[in-house]
Symmetry: C2
Subunit: 500 residues, 2 copies
């Protein structure tokens, strides 16, 4: 059986290598690729994805897994080998349902769509992106059709990003969240607004960049195994545990984009860099799910990066960096400013109290598109009317509306709700961390993050994909994904800021 396991690992190493190449081609496409390269890149990605798919679905793989299952059943169910067989079997079951032609077409369509999205967003012209998105929705519907009927067709898409999660579960969680969040937002709206005008000034781009680098270096981002570049929509890309790259964007007239975007992506990257090296070149390298990934990025961005202890340490450095803009803004005012709650247009720049509403809007739109109840051509109108309904603001153009996010151009349907789930998990973890590291606040106030990162490495990062998301959350926090800690966190934090 050891020999069979070695054979499996040889195939997985090849798949991982091809996946690493795909990751780099994707990174390049969003950072440095000249526009003329799009078509050839689509061909390259199509071929690589097909080769991966062939290997994931080969008869040899199926036979090996059948032979290994009884062996794995006799092992400690939490051992690496038992988990490897389980995870690979799941991947195999999914991959064998999806025809190779679909995989190739998906790679080609999304490559062209990403180029079109960049142009559409730059020009704020939805019509440039529309035909591409129509193809992507159609590809999503075809993907669903490859699987046995689920409780809801959207379950199939959700499962890509969040193994085991159901549309009904997400809706139930969101239904519990929505009234409490709306209630909180209303209570805040009844109070005097905090001032954040000082964040909207001219800030030298290079100095912003350098400040972000200083922060994430202290977080523990390993520059030997990563780098940071600019991208129109920030993302993190891990070709391997030893090469996890982040991207950010710098707005010369608004400080938040760079600061919180950089910390957010660093959170993802710390997770990627923290997988145990023994999982290299296997299917267990990677994150448990997108929601767990997002729990890491949102933790560093918000629970750490928008906290008062964090700025106790970093604010003097930021003031030194921008003396004319911030020299006369006291810490307390700055802290309130970066936590200002105000319904706004851009999801990635939304405050913590309104953020989840951006997600709910996207989830409803995706479900309606997948159900065929919403045509792509009607998207800008529906987007804008939902924005008005939920947040009371209407995008003045599509660049700040329906075109703001990259996800659909990359074919990612079923992804968005993981952001909200990630918020919830981050708060669940945070409560446990607070108990395990009693002086965490003092450490953060001293600019020390080793204990926090060490805890995350030990409890979350090193396991890679070994555990399913609900299982991992249960293991670490004692309960499944639960909105209560996040609501407690919001209430306490914004209660203090707005004097509720």
């Amino acid at each position: 059986m050891e020999q069979k396991l070695e054979q499996l690992k040889t195939i997985l190493a090849e798949i991982t290598d091809l996946g690493g190449a795909v990751a780099l081609l994707g990174w390049d496409q969003q950072t440095y690729m000249p526009p003329g390269g799009a078509e050839a890149r689509g061909n390259q990605l199509g071929t690589l994805q097909r080769l991966i798919h062939e290997r994931q679905t080969s008869a040899a793989m199926g036979k090996l897994l059948e032979e290994l299952k009884p062996h794995a059943a006799a092992l400690d169910p939490d051992s690496d080998d038992a988990r490897l067989v389980k995870v690979v079997s799941r991947d195999y079951d999914i991959a064998t349902r999806v025809p190779a032609e679909w995989v190739v077409e998906f790679a080609q369509v999304t490559t062209m769509a990403q180029q079109a999205w960049i142009e559409a967003r730059t020009k704020s012209e939805f019509s440039i992106f529309r035909p591409h998105l129509e193809k992507i929705v159609e590809l999503g519907q075809r993907y669903v059709s490859f699987f046995p009927p689920a409780d809801h067709p959207y379950d199939i898409l959700l499962d890509i990003f969040e193994p085991g999660m159901k549309t009904a579960d997400v809706k139930a969680i969101f239904d519990a969240l929505r009234p409490r969040q709306v209630e909180l937002i209303k209570a805040i709206a009844a109070k005097p607004q905090v001032d954040d005008s000082f964040l909207h000034q001219a800030f030298d781009e290079k100095k912003q960049w350098d400040f972000g680098v200083e922060v994430i270096t202290k977080f523990g981002y390993d520059w030997k195994c990563g780098r940071q570049d600019k991208a129109p929509h920030p993302f993190t890309n891990g070709g391997s545990r030893s090469d996890v790259r982040i991207t950010t964007r710098v707005n010369p007239n608004f400080l938040n984009s760079m600061i919180f975007g950089t910390m957010h992506e660093c959170g993802h990257a710390l997770y990627g860099q923290g997988t145990a090296s023994k999982l290299d070149r296997t299917s267990l390298d990677g994150g448990a799910s997108l929601a767990v990934h997002e729990s890491q990025s949102r933790m560093w961005e918000n629970l750490v990066g928008r906290s008062l202890p964090f700025w106790d340490h970093f604010y003097p450095r930021l003031q030194e960096t921008f003396p004319s803009q911030l020299g006369s803004v006291p810490l307390e005012k700055f802290y309130k400013g970066i936590n200002k709650v105000q319904p706004s247009l851009i999801r990635v720049e939304a405050d913590e109290a309104t953020y989840n509403l951006h997600i709910m809007l996207r989830l409803e739109i995706e479900i309606a598109m997948v159900e065929g109840k919403l045509a792509v051509k009607d998207l800008p109108e529906v987007w804008n009317s939902k924005m008005e309904e939920y947040l009371g603001v209407v995008p003045p153009d599509d660049a700040r509306g329906v075109l703001q996010d990259i996800h659909w151009s990359g074919g990612m349907m079923g992804y968005f709700s993981t952001y909200a789930l990630g918020n919830l998990i981050s708060a669940q973890l945070w409560e446990v961390i607070g108990r395990d590291i009693p002086d965490l606040t003092d450490q953060i106030r001293a600019g020390k993050f080793e204990a926090l990162l060490g805890w995350l490495r030990e409890k979350v990062h090193r396991h890679g994909r070994k555990f399913e998301p609900q299982e991992l959350v249960q293991k670490v926090t004692g309960s499944k994904i639960d909105p209560a800690p996040y609501l407690r966190y919001l209430k306490e934090k914004f209660g203090q800021i707005y004097g509720l």
Copy 2:
């Protein structure tokens, strides 16, 4: 037969796609990859190269070629299809001799070697690079052993880069060149030296970069299908005709590195961007050989870029860019300065009269290493003593000696002589161009390069790999590779500059 040809093209498209991915992984490795990524990159490249090799050597490929050969024999021998079958058959014959294990090992060894070379060069410590180079020489010798004995073992390596060329041919050409070049250098040394001190001043890096961009934009470099980045050793990388990237380096205290390096790489890129689109995703996409490639880069760098008419146009712009450094240097003095003949340490910065001596030194060293007559450990000493013998200068450290070139770290043994052959071909083409475009000099003086680029596109670029190098040179110039035009060119140019 049409169907067989389509089958062949399907396989070639896949090989091309994998090759495009390899190209990007290689580009990234030399520009942006963090050092920690080296091992995973080695695995990725090893896997991709093995997959390419499997396809190049598959039984299906062999069978298709056997079936297509009689069909191809009935076609116009210069038709795309006939040539495609011929070129693919050659590739197949070579690839089937090389075991897959060698290909994987080569990819892994060279990936690690390139990282080691960067470190060794930075620290000027040959010992860091030595064990890697030993492996590479051994890999080269094993490669030779896979082929039937040739006139000389080095022929097998030369043939990788210069199809059909023999060690004896190169030696004969070099034997004809050496005394004439040495004679010229001696005649120059007897004359008063020209002044180039003004080139060794502080030149703002950003302004240098921008000037280089301005020049190659006028040359016709298509930025939609390429980009320029910095790299420790400039190179051009074409993942596809529509994505041909160049790199350059900028020395803040010496103007030549950037200016001539940028034009050189642009010459390669114009060739890569100029292949006919009908050859996309086939084995005919690419250059005829390295020497032909080098004829393009050296032409734009030297025959264009170090000419008086070129600087008639660009020198006022350069003076505007660097008024304090060059404002008082007249054109004639500048022209002589950039063409100063003086034996020096760095090949890529060598003048046209001494350049080929750098190549001869490398050729002799490579041949001795392949023959097993020169141990890698003795390389720095042999390098330095040959430098003294041929050029009368001794490198003060290995960074400016044996570690200066990237080639060996990438496993490229047999490559260097193509630089000298490229010089010869460039002058042969130039004589024909001068007849076909009688007002070429006036056009260059007016900063116009469309006719020149158009001629190169028509006569050289669009053919891709259709013709073998000697065949192409014969076709365009009426004779095989011939040192006479280059010697005539050197004599006329330096006769004028040095008043010989």
